[in-house]
């Protein structure tokens, strides 16, 4: 106990020292005076002390808990309530029903502003699920994912404003262009792994943005492209609010579609090959999996979703410029995947919604957004490295057993 207090005290002093220039000294450049805010120092000290004490207590409890779990040698991995909700059909059917009903009703009971927020949140959900294929399943750390999102958005913007192509024609084109660029970028980095891969993809992301910014002739440079058409629906005239509602439903369909596809792939020959690649590349290749084809497939499919929602993004905002596609977006989408649980579909959906909606509804704390973000990530890594919802592997039954079950 004493040691808690002692180390917490040290932490508090250290934090006071670190935050001193930021929290205590305030230089008023207009009046050329320096303001000393000593009270702030006190608050920092108290806050750091309490947080540190709680932290140490929690860590110790966790260590004790872990050793206890080991003692319960049988310790079959206990299913959390969340996991049970997902596994047990009796529980998850009603839950899914309620979620779907709420999602369908949402635009009718809330204002357009809310609907817009949700459209963007759903765009992030699809981005997260797409990146989940590349990072979560195939284990290819991609820090330049936003490039493909930009490819989709610019494809639609250009095809629509210059050639007058319709949204519905551009939607698949955007997805396919994204996938194509994914394959093209995938080729040179087939041999890279881990950190090296991350750095190269980070570079690709930045290159994409620089290209959008500087290739005036095609991408209209930093000015961006405006007057992009909203999606039409059999020529029905829609005002902004109706169009947003329409986009919202379109995004809902996209989310369901993405979940459906990812879910099917996860437990298929392809999905297993991706996971094997993530686990051990050499063993995977030695077991007869074509590395190049499998990796490119993962890149292409991940990029496909980004391209697809890129088109929807452009149609929703009706104006895009390179600033929409900077590294921050890649980082946020990646943190959704990590936070949600690598490879877990439900986890990624929840994380994407939380990471998007919380900042919207907590506008008051906007300045501290990144701070909280970082803190949450660190906490997750420490307490739940497998993510909010761990990816549970499917189990299979032998044909003979299946036959017996159906007979008896």
């Amino acid at each position: 106990m004493i040691s808690y207090l002692k180390s917490s005290l040290i932490a508090a002093v250290w934090f006071v020292f670190l935050t001193f220039p930021l929290m205590v000294v305030k230089v008023n450049t207009l009046k050329s005076t320096v303001e000393w805010r000593w009270m702030n120092m006190l608050w920092v000290a108290i806050g750091a002390f309490i947080l540190s004490a709680v932290w140490r207590w929690a860590m110790e409890k966790r260590v004790r808990g872990a050793s206890q779990n080991e003692q319960d040698a049988a310790s079959e991995e206990k299913m959390g309530i969340g996991q049970r909700l997902l596994e047990d059909p009796k529980l998850n059917r009603p839950v899914i029903g309620v979620v779907v009903a709420l999602a369908l009703l949402m635009p009718w009971v809330s204002e357009m502003y809310q609907v817009t927020i949700w459209v963007f949140a759903l765009i992030y959900v699809v981005l997260g699920l797409g990146l989940n294929i590349t990072v979560g399943l195939a284990g290819l750390l991609d820090l330049g994912y936003v490039a493909f999102f930009g490819v989709g958005a610019y494809t639609y913007a250009i095809l629509n404003t210059r050639f007058g192509l319709d949204f519905w024609v551009c939607l698949p084109i955007g997805g396919l262009t994204g996938a194509l660029v994914g394959v093209l970028l995938g080729f040179p980095i087939l041999r890279l792994r881990g950190d090296y891969l991350a750095i190269v993809t980070l570079g690709f992301g930045s290159i994409a943005k620089i290209v959008y910014e500087n290739w005036e002739g095609v991408f209209n440079g930093a000015k961006g492209i405006e007057k992009i058409a909203r999606p039409g629906f059999f020529g029905v005239q829609m005002d902004i609010s109706a169009a947003t509602t329409f986009t919202y439903y379109l995004m809902l369909v996209m989310v369901v579609f993405t979940i459906f596809v990812t879910n099917r792939l996860k437990d298929s020959r392809i999905g297993r090959a991706w996971m094997a690649l993530r686990e051990d590349e050499i063993a995977c290749v030695a077991m007869g999996v074509d590395m190049a084809r499998t990796k490119l497939g993962a890149y292409a499919l991940g990029a496909f979703w980004a391209g697809l929602v890129g088109v929807i993004f452009a149609s929703q905002t009706t104006y895009i410029n390179p600033a929409s596609f900077d590294f921050m977006l890649s980082a946020i989408v990646l943190s959704m995947v990590v936070l949600g649980g690598m490879g877990s579909i439900v986890g990624v959906v929840i994380a994407a919604l939380v990471l998007n909606l919380l900042p919207e509804y907590l506008r008051a704390f906007e300045d501290y957004r990144m701070l909280v973000f970082g803190a949450v990530m660190v906490m997750m890594m420490l307490f739940r490295p497998q993510g909010l919802v761990a990816n549970v592997r499917k189990t299979y039954t032998h044909g003979k057993v299946r036959a017996e079950e159906t007979n008896g």
Partner: protein, 267 residues
């Protein structure tokens, strides 16, 4: 070596250089159908490098690797990618176990079926009849293999949670899932206790007899090698120093010297 037995693998003058270091020096080796052949030698003799050359992980500097798959054309496989070598019918295990840790035991074996199935991304999404049939066949085959190596009860465990000996057997099952005609085992008994080694011994013989798979194994455990292999190649410093039946090898002075050092006669 039976004179009229069909040759499966024919390696001639295989050499592998790493910069100035010659890890494997003109090794010539043959494996015939229905044989268990062992490759032994002290640590660092180049046995695993030899394996890596044959299975396509390294591209050999010189020499020729010819494969005669049963009922298929003979092929020179120098520089083939590992997955092509496996698809031809030569599967391997690893000295330091390389399982897919965070996948279930069954899924590990199912990966082995990858090169024998054809479902594409589109096929996996649509889940047509063919996909479903292949998937069922994959599951059943994998269960059968787990039964053969005695791991059915662990089918849904994560591979990382298996005991050491079981992990070794899982690697063998995974390699067998690729329908090989030749199994290359890299120190399958490393780190096993005598009982586990004995079980493994029986498993290997069973695979050869019942599954009709020939075996080339690298091994340190002399007892295992002497018990089950029909022919033995001995390597030292990348060179082949002896070749023959277990009896011949046991009494070969060069081998004794390599294993026990000079003056090994006293031992």
């Amino acid at each position: 070596m039976a004179e009229n037995a069909q040759k499966l693998l024919e390696v001639s003058e295989l050499t592998m250089d790493f910069g100035g270091l010659r890890a494997v020096d003109s090794i010539t080796l043959e494996v015939c159908a229905g044989e268990i052949v062992a490759l032994i030698g002290p640590n660092g003799a180049g046995k695993t490098t030899f394996f890596n050359c044959v299975t396509g992980i390294y591209k050999p500097t010189r020499g020729e690797i010819l494969v005669h798959p049963p009922e298929q054309k003979t092929q020179k496989i120098n520089g083939f990618k590992p997955n092509r070598v496996t698809a031809m019918g030569m599967a391997r295990t690893f000295q330091n176990i390389r399982l897919f840790q965070n996948m279930t035991v069954l899924e590990n074996v199912m990966i082995g079926r990858h090169c024998r199935t054809t479902t594409s991304i589109i096929g996996a999404i649509l889940r047509g009849k063919k996909t479903n049939r292949q998937e069922r066949e994959t599951i059943d085959r994998s269960y059968d293999l787990l039964e053969k190596v005695g791991l059915v009860d662990f089918a849904d465990e994560f591979a990382k949670n298996l005991p050491y000996g079981a992990q070794r057997r899982l690697e063998i099952a995974r390699a067998m899932a690729t329908d090989p005609f030749l199994l290359l085992l890299d120190e399958p008994a490393a780190g096993m206790n005598p009982q586990e080694t004995k079980d493994l011994d029986e498993l290997i013989v069973r695979i050869k007899d019942l599954e009709n798979i020939s075996i080339l194994l690298i091994e340190h455990d002399m007892k295992l090698v002497m018990n089950i292999s029909e022919r033995i190649y001995v390597m030292e410093y990348g060179k082949k120093i002896a070749h023959g039946s277990p009896q011949e090898i046991r009494s070969n002075p060069k081998v004794i010297e390599a294993y026990l050092g000079e003056g090994g006669d006293d031992a």
